[in-house]
Amino acid sequence: MDKKTVEQIAHLARLDINEKDIPEYVTNLTNILALVEQMNTVATDSVEPMAHPTDAVQRLREDIVTATNQRERFQAVAPQVEKGLYLVPQVIE
């Protein structure tokens, strides 16, 4: 874990981090990774991995349209809309 990795992670997560905080992040993340390393040494071959901390199973819903058009409400809080579309800074493919 170094400064570059922290910056990379922050970019991927779109986090605007302060330059002066980076050394502390490096220390903290390094410690967390050390803990993960420690956990990695535990023999877990016989343990089935869980995707979720509870043992519950996903409930399913019937395939029914329940939502109504509330575009006006949603777009009232959007920074910019036009012709029913949400506008964002230009994305170049």
């Binding site: 779109r14 979720h52 819903r61 329940t66 939502a67 029913g84 579309l85 949400y86 506008l87 230009q90």
Partner: protein
């Protein structure tokens, strides 16, 4: 050097549910922008996705149709990336534990071979919204109606060794998903689309070459063209001593070229992890078997039945069963006129040509199966010739009327009266002594001239078989 292409396809099929995979918004196509995008689809804070049972059942149905292992415990993961058409910041998909595991489909090739193509997996995921880049200067418009539409991504093994195989595989998957009713298969509307992984290796080499991934392919014609231009591009690079770069390339159908979208260095780090909002999906053997029982006759089985029941060759049977609607249409027509060969020829000839020309599918066909059978019945009983039938078909198509009333009102009945035809033949012989002389001197091509004269007189209504016979008799014996 002889090169061999290695192709794998990732096909995205939109599931034909009424509501979205994790929300109660409608999935209907063509609505006003953002009128079918609720809090969950917009990724507003505090919302909870709830899985659509029908989407799950459809994915399982696909798995049973390709004899795949069904994941009795499958898990949704978050694939993290920032793009405005996915406002949550991640796509909900399945990585390690997909709903459908290893399966396979058979494809038929032009030389008569059958080849088995492995399907690595098929997983459930949500579609993203649509970005509209053209209409706004300096901004992109976002329509999230499509966001959250259920998809299955069907990932093949790298088993295909030619463009023909890739197209045949894509067509077969298209047939299967439409037969079993889990996808409408509409490629114009983006319900069925594919990415292709393409690499080259020297023929005989075991190891795969570096692959590129072609995105944005939304028709059978384009998959063929995109892969072909990519094969040429890679061979050019390799033969001039270069190396292929692993990257994502976009197929541009207007320019018929592929161009780089992003290289491996820019490849996204998706940081997958299990979605904490969604619990594992568990299905039982009983549930899987109950779904398997709902499978209809699948394309391969229908093809075999068409060959034995209607005495069709493999190619005809394959063409007719590629689409369920076409197969049903054929069966209705055949049962009414009791002549499978005539029905097959006309459906694959005139009818399919017209559909292609007008860019329509069987669903929107203006001539019903029983109307079409009515036309073929008049060919069969010699009321009209095949040539006149084409004109009648054209009128049926445009006006929607019955063959019999068109034949009646336009006076198109074939002239089968031997006496009347004989008189015409006599007249044409008497009127054209020069041609008769040349014909007798050996210029047999002139037979067409005589037939043509009579057809001209009768506007094509004379029975061509009878005229030929009469002409031969008269010209040969006199």
């Amino acid at each position: 050097m002889q090169w061999e292409v290695v192709i794998g396809l990732e096909i995205h099929a939109q599931l034909a549910t009424k509501s979205k995979i994790f929300s109660g918004s409608s999935t209907a196509f063509g609505a006003e922008p953002n009128t079918q995008a609720n809090e969950v689809d917009l990724g507003l804070p505090g919302v909870l996705p709830v899985m659509n049972k029908q989407a799950l059942n459809m994915a399982i149905k696909f798995g049973t149709a390709i004899n795949a292992e069904i994941g009795k415990r499958s898990v949704f993961d978050r694939k993290n990336y920032f793009y405005p058409d996915l406002p949550k910041g991640y796509q909900t998909t399945q990585l390690a534990l997909p709903i459908v595991g290893l399966g396979s489909v058979d494809i038929e090739l032009k030389d008569g071979r059958t080849k088995t193509i492995g399907v690595t997996r098929a997983h459930l995921e949500e579609d993203a919204g649509k970005s509209l880049h053209e209409d706004f200067s300096g901004a992109t418009g976002i329509d999230l109606n499509r966001a959250g539409t259920p998809l299955i991504e069907i990932v093949s093994e790298p088993d295909m060794r030619s463009t023909e195989e890739a197209v045949a595989y894509m067509r077969k998957i298209h047939s299967i998903v439409t037969y079993i009713g889990i996808c409408d298969g509409n490629m114009q509307e983006g319900s069925f689309r594919c990415d292709a992984n393409v690499s080259m290796r020297p023929k005989g080499q075991e190891e795969f070459g570096t692959r590129t991934e072609l995105k944005n392919i939304n028709s059978f014609r384009f998959v063929e063209r995109a892969i072909n231009v990519e094969i040429e591009r890679q061979i050019d690079i390799l033969e001039s001593g270069g190396t292929v770069v692993q990257e994502t390339r976009l197929y541009d159908s207007n320019k018929n070229e592929t161009r780089s979208m992003r290289s491996k260095e820019d490849a996204m780090d998706y940081r997958y992890f299990p979605d904490p909002d969604l619990l594992p999906i568990v299905v039982t053997d009983d549930e899987i078997e109950a779904i398997r029982k709902t499978l209809p006759e699948l394309p391969d089985a229908k093809k075999v039945r068409f060959m034995s029941e209607y005495k069709l060759n493999a190619e005809d049977a394959g063409n007719l069963t590629a689409s369920l609607e076409l197969a049903n249409y054929f069966e209705t027509v055949t049962k009414e006129i009791d002549d499978s060969k005539l029905a097959a020829n006309w459906i694959m000839g005139e009818l399919t040509a017209r559909l292609n020309k007008e860019n329509l599918t069987v669903k929107s066909l203006p001539v019903s199966a029983s109307q079409f059978a009515g036309l073929l019945a008049r060919i069969k009983d010699n009321t009209i010739s095949g040539k006149i039938a084409k004109d009648v078909f054209d009128t049926m198509w445009n006006e929607g009327s019955e063959a019999d009333s068109i034949i009646e009102s336009k006076g198109l009945k074939q002239i089968n009266d031997t006496g009347a035809l004989e008189a015409m033949v006599d007249k044409v012989i008497a009127d054209n002594p020069n041609q008769v002389e040349q014909f007798k001197a050996g210029k047999e091509k002139l037979m067409g001239f005589f037939v043509g004269q009579i057809m001209k007189q009768t506007q094509g209504k004379a029975n061509p078989g009878q005229i030929n016979q009469l002409l031969k008799k008269k010209l040969g014996s006199s």
